[in-house]
């Protein structure tokens, strides 16, 4: 390479080092991944490229992300199976105590799933079923106790009259408890039957499910707060909302929150993706939303931050 060519390259490198000094931070992994996956706006994409041009570190990370997980096939000596096995042995000893934590995390996840609106009736039914079984066992034990008392009464000679009064009292108490347990059992059985009926209703296909098309507040310039009303007919267990989005800037993901008039959060979820029609469709169960006014907030999540994208106001009326 000629001396002039060397000088040219050195000059470009020096020029870039000057530019690199003005870059104060690396790209976050989230931003790098979003760029790699083509999730950024063209303006954002340009900014990321501007940084990549001057930042060797971020460029190397991006190239590794492109190559991952085939990274180990590049260059260096491949680790042997024995080395990986030794690493696993060390890992295994570290995650063993974590199993307890894993169990609790799993339990939390299970309870969280069971408490979701769709599974709540199943969870209640299961709980009542367990209570019902426990009561049945109690009734059986009381009956056995009762029979033992009767047997003792039959075999007791006249000389044991002094015990008779106390045995009678015990017998009365046992009968009272038996009656109480039977009454509670009947109540639980009724509740189970009601829940089973609800489950059957919820499992049926729904025809002509009411759908409300919601536009965000301020969607029409100058318009004051508008409240969309959805009228739900008696047989409908669900109704659908289509949330149209005014802000088309892409976000890595979205979050939704529904609060009632008193500001109580009725439902929220995150990690949501916008549909290809630039909207979100929500299927809501009737039992979770009593008649009234609700506010829905749509948030965009980017770089770990939450930004309010749109707000909607909805009134639910049941016919």
């Amino acid at each position: 390479m000629s001396e002039r060519q060397e000088r040219f390259k050195a000059a470009v490198r020096a020029l870039m080092e000057e530019a690199a000094l003005q870059e104060d931070a690396h790209l976050t992994p989230e931003r790098l991944i979003a760029y790699h996956q083509g999730e950024l706006s063209s303006e954002d994409e340009r900014r990321v490229q501007d940084h990549l041009v001057v930042c060797r570190e971020c460029t190397a990370l991006l190239l590794d992300l492109e190559a991952f997980p085939a990274l180990d096939q590049q260059g260096a000596r491949r680790l042997s199976d024995a080395e990986v096995a030794a690493a696993w042995q060390q890992m295994e000893s570290q995650i063993q105590p974590g199993e307890t934590m894993g169990f609790f995390a799993g339990a939390r996840q299970w309870f969280g799933a069971m408490l979701s609106p769709a599974r709540l009736p199943y969870a209640i039914a299961a709980s009542l079923f367990i209570v019902s079984l426990a009561l049945a066992a109690w009734i059986v034990s009381l009956r056995q106790e009762n029979q033992q008392l009767m047997a003792r009464l039959k075999v007791s000679p006249a000389g044991q009259d002094r015990d008779l009064a106390s045995i009678k009292r015990s017998l009365q108490e046992a009968r009272r408890r038996l009656a109480e347990a039977a009454r509670r059992d009947e109540q639980y059985q009724t509740q189970i039957a009601q829940l089973q009926q609800s489950l059957e209703e919820l499992s049926q296909p729904q025809v002509n499910v009411p759908i409300a098309d919601l536009y965000p507040q301020g969607f029409i310039r100058g318009q004051q707060e508008t409240i969309e009303t959805i009228e739900v007919p008696p047989g409908a267990n669900f109704f659908a909302l289509v949330l149209n989005v005014s802000d088309r800037r892409p976000y890595a993901s979205y979050a939704l929150e529904i609060v009632d008039r008193e500001g109580r959060v009725i439902w929220r979820d995150r990690g949501l993706r916008m549909s290809s029609y630039d909207n979100f469709t929500l299927m809501l169960p009737r039992r979770l939303f009593p008649a009234g006014e609700y506010r829905i907030a749509l948030y965009g999540l980017r770089d770990g931050r939450r930004e309010l994208v749109d707000r909607y106001v909805l009134r639910i009326q049941y016919q």
Binding site: Q5, E18, V54, L71
Partner: protein, 206 residues
């Protein structure tokens, strides 16, 4: 089915359902240990450090597995965790360095310390930068103008080639362009720079 060919979604779903957790996690570990280890190796860590950082990455994966919802590919999620582990390690080292490093009040030791970290030294009291050591004022001006006059994509391809010395294929990946487009940009850039800079730098090769 071997650990390398078994669908990753199934391994994760079984793990999340609490089925044979240790065995399923071992499969993930064996499948991805090498690329994660290589990720740290490429960043200049010693063999022991690579082993510890890879271990830390997998512990984070284990802790986060219950919450993994499959919105991104598992590999992307794993890469994200490895990158976070790497950045955390860098922050930790940088904090240690700050805590243990004596910064003299006069500037006698600063240049030496910075040079040992491989960083360019800039004296805030002067406007001189690295470019001033290579070119004179007129040359600097001409070079800046010539590069600035290139269309944006062409300029970026050129700088990735000259500054980062990337291959055409790598530039294409970084810029999300085809390799053919990169070649065309670099050809055009060379022609344009030759026309503007031949008097200063002769024939320009890219």
């Amino acid at each position: 089915m071997s650990a390398d060919t078994e669908p990753i979604d199934r391994i994760i779903a079984e793990w999340q359902a609490g089925i044979d957790r240790e065995e399923n996690f071992r499969r993930l570990f064996e499948r991805y240990y090498r690329p994660v280890h290589r990720f740290f190796e490429k960043r200049g860590f010693s063999r022991e450090e690579c082993r510890d950082l890879t271990q830390e990455t997998f512990i984070r994966v284990y802790i986060g597995m219950a919450g993994f919802r499959g919105e991104a590919r598992f590999e992307t999620w794993l890469f994200h965790i490895a990158t976070n582990t790497y950045m955390k390690e860098l922050r930790h080292r940088s904090a240690q360095k700050r805590a243990g490093h004596h910064i003299p009040l006069d500037d006698s030791g600063t240049a030496q310390a910075s040079a040992s970290e491989g960083r360019a030294v800039v004296d805030p009291a002067s406007d001189r930068g690295p470019l001033d050591d290579v070119l004179n004022g007129e040359q600097r001006q001409v070079l800046r103008q010539a590069i600035a006059s290139l269309p944006e994509q062409m300029r970026k391809c050129l700088l990735l080639r000259l500054y980062q010395e990337l291959s055409y294929k790598e530039i294409a990946r970084v810029m999300r362009l085809s390799e053919e487009t990169v070649k065309a940009h670099l050809y055009q850039a060379r022609q344009r720079l030759r026309a503007q800079l031949a008097d200063y730098f002769g024939e320009i090769e890219l």
